[in-house]
């Protein structure tokens, strides 16, 4: 009874969040709806005993992906009203997506994937979700695991190639150069007479505003 109620609570949360994503005129509000959806999905994961996956959803999706969506929203020029000019232009693509998704759901239901006979709420008796994953991920599924590493490498290199523009107009600190400086090139010892200065004519080279960044 209680697990059913909790399920209904989280499922409602997901639907509300997802509805907010589509309906919100302000993209930032839609982003908030996405966060609501993620949190409730994490709650469902935990409800079905996949504690590690639920916490991972919070860590990765809420902690990192959500921030990235925010940055993407901020880096593009938001002209939200342009989307509303020709809503019918998006209709075929939307219908196609709905058709594909509905077909997938019907197929999954035919294979019995939507069985109601699932254990709810982790009881602590079955081995922990994180251990079950770990036992197969690094041995049986070692190939997908290594491929995921390569995907991450590709994403890293791709992001750098696409967005990183080294700038030459800024002064940078070179730590190696600083550390390798010797006493001879950085220091001059003089014995000035009282009231005559050092005699090395510092004032000629000194400019007030040339402080290096």
């Amino acid at each position: 009874m209680l697990p059913d109620l909790i399920f209904a609570l989280f499922a409602t949360g997901i639907l509300v969040g997802a509805g907010l994503i589509i309906a919100a005129r302000n993209p930032m509000l839609g982003m908030l709806g996405m966060l609501v959806t993620f949190i409730n999905a994490a709650g469902l994961f935990i409800l079905f005993g996949a504690e590690f996956l639920g916490l991972l959803l919070i860590m990765v999706y809420l902690g990192a992906i959500a921030v990235m969506f925010l940055f993407v929203l901020m880096t593009i020029d938001l002209e939200f009203f342009k989307l509303r000019e020709k809503p019918k232009a998006y209709l075929p693509l939307g219908l196609l997506t709905v058709a594909v998704l509905a077909g997938e759901f019907i197929l999954a239901a035919n294979y019995g994937l939507f069985s109601t006979n699932v254990t709810m709420l982790p009881t602590g008796e079955q081995p922990q979700n994180i251990i079950q994953i770990g036992n197969v991920l690094f041995t049986t599924y070692v190939l997908p695991f290594q491929l995921s590493g390569l995907v991450l490498l590709t994403a890293m290199v791709g992001a750098i190639v696409l967005t990183h523009r080294p700038r030459s107009d800024v002064k940078r600190q070179s730590i190696t150069k600083q550390v390798l400086r010797t006493k001879e090139e950085g220091l001059t010892m003089t014995k000035p007479k009282l009231g005559h200065g050092t005699g090395t004519n510092v004032a000629k080279h000194w400019k007030p505003k040339s402080v290096a960044k």
Partner: protein
């Protein structure tokens, strides 16, 4: 003591659920009570954006430098790498040297990427 806590909270996650329920309820109440009890007289100055007492210079929806995006995506990649390390650390005793080696290979691949981004200067803010 443990028996009592078992009696009250049969599942440890119920305590978290209760915590979530209380915090959501409290937040909703704190929003709802002023909304219901206080008079609302809106004026142009009240509902306009407050920018430290100045007139707002510009809209808040200005475009950002793309470098923020680069930092975010590099963060996600290392976040995922850490996510893989959690189950690995939990089962390290059971997966033998093969499991250990597979994670080392994974880390090596990502370290190559890390060295690349370091040499490219992608971690420098400028």
């Amino acid at each position: 003591m443990e028996a009592i806590s078992q009696l009250i909270v049969p599942n440890p996650y119920l305590a978290i659920l209760l915590f979530v329920a209380v915090s959501v309820g409290l937040a909703a109440a704190l929003q709802a009570v002023p909304f219901l009890t206080h008079p609302m007289r809106r004026s142009k100055e009240k509902i306009s954006a407050y920018e430290s007492g100045f007139e707002a210079f510009d809209t808040a929806r200005r475009t950002f430098d793309v470098r923020f995006y680069l930092v975010a995506i590099l963060f996600i990649i290392f976040d995922l790498e850490v996510a893989f390390l959690f189950p690995w650390a939990m089962v390290l005793q059971d997966i033998s040297w093969f499991g250990f080696g597979s994670m080392m290979l994974f880390l090596t691949v990502l370290t190559i990427g890390f060295v690349y981004e370091w040499r490219q200067g992608a971690l420098e803010w400028e």
